[in-house]
Point group: C2
Amino acid sequence: MKETTLEVRGMSCGHCVNAIEGSVGELPGVLQVKVDLQKAQVSVSYDEATSSPTAIKENIEEQGYGVA
Amino acid sequence: MKETTLEVRGMSCGHCVNAIEGSVGELPGVLQVKVDLQKAQVSVSYDEATSSPTAIKENIEEQGYGVA
């Protein structure tokens, strides 16, 4: 298991938190996802055999957010 | 049919727009609802026999937004 924390721009409310946690949480290989709205961060635990920071980043960007 | 425009605080993104338009749109007597995120306004057309600005305001407040 690995962990990554991404800086995400554009998350503004609880709906955004739920959307990102729900969508990233359903990705293959993702074990846990936690959004910190105040810090503008998304922390993800994932199985490195089946997921990657790139796959997670792409999912978040597809939802219209910016990932640093 | 009557129309009312409410000033609503706390709407921050497209999820908020969808949540309010969906929820208010399902209220009895509500014919049409349109959120303007930039103006922080919710405009509603309703049947005055079966709905009221008070009922609409309460629904929006229950979702956690402030209504002026």
